[in-house]
């Protein structure tokens, strides 16, 4: 029996060297450890506690890493609201990335009386318009209107400067908001997500600048 155990353990180790997926390498390694434990306990004149102890350490480390890999790989289910947010503004992000970002912000309602941001006043939040319409104004002059899926405050987010325009809801609006320092702090620790989110900001900014230039051109006739 003991001969079978030692061969089974080593065959499992050999198999773990042949797989390329780190998850399966760890699973096979734990399988090998499970064969080694009875071998070192029962098949010896006296239990060999040192190898038993080390095997338990290896199995614990592998078990924790397997759990982490499982958490990273399991499919993500978005709620209808989160799916809508993704479809409107964050479609280039994976569902997992969307979930990470949603966890950092909150949903908000805005009434039409209060501006969402005012020229010269520092902006605390980066907003995504989920439902409703807003107007971008400068000194009372309308520059553009934005609908669902558009970002509000990305210029301030990027430059760290106060907005140079007012943004006023034209009707009750539903928004998703991130506190800028919190979002920036988190993205600094997540380079891949930071890159993906930056592409979202870049696309919206370019679209906005094109739209404003177009409306100014039309205004100038």
């Amino acid at each position: 029996m003991s001969a079978y155990l030692i061969h089974a353990a080593n065959l499992l180790i050999l198999s773990s060297f042949l797989v390329r997926d780190i998850l399966w390498l760890r699973v096979l390694s734990i399988g090998a450890g499970l064969c080694f434990l009875p071998y070192f306990y029962f098949a010896q004149a006296a239990p060999l506690w040192a190898p038993i102890g080390w095997n338990l350490v290896f199995m614990t480390v592998n078990g924790v890493q397997i759990w982490r890999l499982y958490l990273e790989r399991r499919p993500v289910q978005l709620s209808p609201d989160e799916a809508e947010l993704r479809q409107l503004a964050l479609h280039s992000l994976t569902p997992r990335e969307v979930l990470q970002l949603v966890g950092l912000g909150s949903w908000k309602q805005a009434e039409s009386e209060r501006p969402l941001c005012s020229s010269g006043e520092p902006l605390a939040e980066l907003l995504v318009l989920v439902a409703g319409q807003v107007r971008i104004e400068r000194e009372g002059r309308a520059l553009a209107e934005l609908g669902p899926g558009r970002l509000i405050g990305e210029m301030s987010y990027l430059t760290g400067e106060a907005p140079t325009v007012d943004v006023r809801p034209l009707e009750p609006c539903r928004l998703f908001a991130w506190e800028i320092p919190r979002l920036k702090g988190y993205l600094e620790t997540q380079p891949a997500l930071r890159g993906a989110f930056q592409r979202v900001l870049g696309a919206d900014l370019s679209r906005k600048l094109r739209g404003v230039t177009e409306s100014q051109r039309l205004e100038l006739g």
Binding site: R138, G202, S206, V212
Partner: protein, 194 residues
């Protein structure tokens, strides 16, 4: 840092037909990203360019001209351009074997940066990511760096970002450069609105 020294450094291009020119004469009036690499066979330069490559299109769309400056011979530059397929990207690659541009940009020349513990770790980490170190193709003690220059206004440019590499694979993360370029675009947009 001496920006005039950077502009007046004579550089060679990958195209053998193109005559040597001052670096300044190759720059567009808009924002410019100058990426100084060490030598063209270096693992750190390979990591730097590979990190930057996915962002080159965005940088170009954000109005930023990207120029990679090395220290090897023009023949080394041609191999480097082919290896990274830079001819297919919106990027200019040049070489300054005299290192005048590197020196004027305030970058370090350090054997410790190349062979010290951090340099050796960079070498190992690069190998782990599939970046092998080739034969020296330029100055091996020269460390790289990055300058993001704002658009030319009245003949002068603002230095928006400067990163002086401390060791052979140290470099400014491309995502930070792209974000700085986006901030420049946003500032330009805000100025247009004003």
């Amino acid at each position: 840092m001496n920006l005039d020294g950077v502009y007046t450094a004579i550089v060679h291009r990958a195209d053998p037909e193109a005559p040597p020119a001052s670096l300044g004469s190759l720059l567009h009036p808009g924002p410019v990203l100058l990426v100084f690499v060490r030598h063209f066979g270096c693992t750190g330069c390979s990591q730097n360019v590979t990190d930057l490559q996915p962002w080159l299109r965005e940088l170009s769309e954000r109005g930023v001209q990207t120029v990679i400056v090395g220290t090897g011979k023009p023949t080394h530059l041609r191999g480097f351009v082919e290896r990274f397929r830079l001819q297919d990207y919106a990027v200019e690659a040049v070489t300054d074997p005299t290192r005048r541009a590197h020196t004027a940009a305030g970058l370090r020349r350090s054997w410790w940066g190349t062979l010290g513990p951090r340099g050796l770790w960079d070498l190992l980490a690069g190998f782990g990511r599939g970046h092998l170190n080739g034969l020296p193709q330029g100055d091996t003690a020269q460390q790289g760096g990055t300058l993001l220059l704002g658009p030319e206004v009245d003949g002068a440019r603002e230095v928006v970002l400067q990163h002086v590499n401390q060791s052979l694979a140290d470099h400014a993360p491309a995502v930070e450069l792209a974000e700085a370029a986006l901030a420049l675009q946003a500032r330009g947009g805000a100025a247009e609105l004003a």
